[in-house]
Amino acid sequence: MNATPGHSPVKSIMPRWVRGPQDFVGGIALMAIALFALWASSDLQGMRGFSFGAGTAPRMFAFLLLGLGAAVTVVGVLTEGAHLAKYHWRGPLFVTLAILTFAVTIRPMGMIFAAMTSFMIAACGTPETRWTETFIVGVCLTTFCSLLFPYALGLPLQLLPSFLIR
């Protein structure tokens, strides 16, 4: 989506006439999403007589969102509001990285590898991590998950890397 966390906001980049930067930026982002949706649904058929085409409802909602986004932006300009919140990079980065790692490795490498790796990557998300302790907990969790999901719950999850099975 259009959300781009990670850029650290500097108050001075906002012009003085914006009284509520939080709403101002939020509203603009919503408008961008709405425009994106309008573009994405532009190839769909519209109204045919009085019956809806595939594109009617998406465009309707997109226009509504565009209007609402504009209203939020206007509110951000006119009324005194909160400043942009501070973004942190460490948590979002490592948690997202862990999720991506899991998604990429689960098929070829199996669940044991994927769970353990993403556990360790996610643990980087906070400076408080102590590695020995984290490693032990990671092993326990991986064992627990390997027993719970495929065996206790009967879900079709592959535990080992596929090159070992073939």
């Binding site: 989506m1 959300a3 781009t4 966390p5 939080q22 709403d23 930026v25 939020g26 999403i33 709405a34 649904s41 769909l44 058929q45 009085f50 019956s51 809806f52 085409g53 595939a54 594109g55 409802a57 909602f61 969102l65 609402l68 209203a71 939020v72 509110v75 909160a82 919140a85 942190h88 460490r90 948590g91 979002p92 948690v95 997202t96 862990a98 999720i99 991506l100 899991f102 998604a103 990429v104 689960i106 669940m111 994927a114 993403s118 556990f119 360790m120 996610a122 643990a123 998300g125 906070t126 991590t129 102590r130 907990v137 969790l141 998950c145 719970l148 999901f149 719950l153 879900l155 999850l157």
Partner: protein, 521 residues
Amino acid sequence: MGDLFSNLGLGFGVVFQLVQWSPAFLGGASIPIPVNILLCLIGALVGTLVGVLPGIGTIATVAMLLPITFGLPPVGALIMLAGIYYGAQYGGSTTSILVNIPGEAGSVVTALDGFQMAKQGRAGPALAIAAIGSFFAGCVATVLIAVLGAPLTKLALAFGPAEYFSLMVLGLIFAVVLAKGSVLKAIAMIVFGLLLSMVGSDIETGASRMAFNIPELADGLGFATVAMGLFGFAEIIRNLDAGGETDRKLVQEKVSGLMPTVRDLKDSTPAILRGTALGSILGILPGGGAVIASFAAYTLEKKISKNPSRFGRGAIEGVAAPESANNAAAQTSFIPLLTLGIPPNAVMALMVGAMTIHGIVPGPQVMQKQPELVWGMIASMWVGNLMLLIINLPLVGIWVRLLRVPYRLMFPAIVVFCCIGIYSVNNAPTDVMLAGGFGLLGYWLIKHDFEPAPLLLGMVLGPLMEENLRRALLISRGDWSVFLTRPLSAVLMVLAAALLVLAILPSLRKKRDEVFVESEN
């Protein structure tokens, strides 16, 4: 009346159903096992376990635990989910009383007086009263669902597409009016959710909409995926921001003396009664639910109390009323879902997601075609509440110990657990990536003070709304006035418009904000 008893009888029959279990090691002998009760018990336990973790609310808990019910038969899965839901709620109140970190919005007010009581060494009575109040509210709400279920289903049969559409509009407006924060932003979130629900194939023509030829998107955005991203991952990321451990003021004293005194009971009985009544009513309203019920109950108690200054300093009524209201509303909010097929709030939206995964489309037909499912679930609610009362009081010590597990170990485990959960829905790695993306989106929304709950509600109602809107307009041959000329639909629309106007009126806005601000001081 006879119907009521036979229905409840059917329900309890389903819940207490015994399944003969003949394991190999017994050599042919079989033991009867009450499977559904066990599922309810496990659900309540696991729900509490996850709900107790600070910073994880009811929605996140249910979303995270959804996958563990996939392997079960539909009845068992729904009974277990109901157990998880109550467990999660009770877990939320335990954390707010003991640590002053409400796991979810519904127990914010419980923290006000509950934590004060805990500081005075009266955590035991506070927890006990919360459980007793919840149980009583649960009993009343169960009966209420049984009484109202059948007549409302008949009403539902009189509903045409136009009425359904209007009812959903009313529900969404209710959700906006009763939500915290800016009305405008809440509406924007709902529309955003509606827009997201449009991704996928068109129901009538099958045309692919905004799917960019990604095969995994052809079926639309998975509901569990979005919920887990917006509530699971986003919460984790946000908690990491806060620095996890720094603001955890755990009550270090041992929780001793669970039993409330006679005076406590006498003080809290009227509060429980009032909370239950208020909660039951607010729960039925579309868009209502547990959060507003607990706020309203607390405010009411404070208003009618002879000595309002006691509130916020450990008044037991301040725990009893919101907890009962919270639970009553949580339960009666099943009524619109089971009878009309319309989820009144985000948690119920998740329930719809779960039902759909099991091939059940909630609505009036379910009541008639699968009565054992509906009544079994209703009966299991009561059983679930009983379980909470029985298992949680002795287990308080364990929950307290769980709270001492540092967040630095807890959050990677939750991340992994969520990943496996999402992956197991469709065995699709793309779903996991999407959930990660929604996690970032959720983080961004929180940073900009947008509530993700209305988004979720909009997303579930989106396809239903579109379908009914299209049908209504097709029947009326393109005449938009159909929503105002059909009497039932017109009433609903007028109500929705009136509510919206009221919410925007400055005087009422101020009152509404006061209710929420009160909880923050």
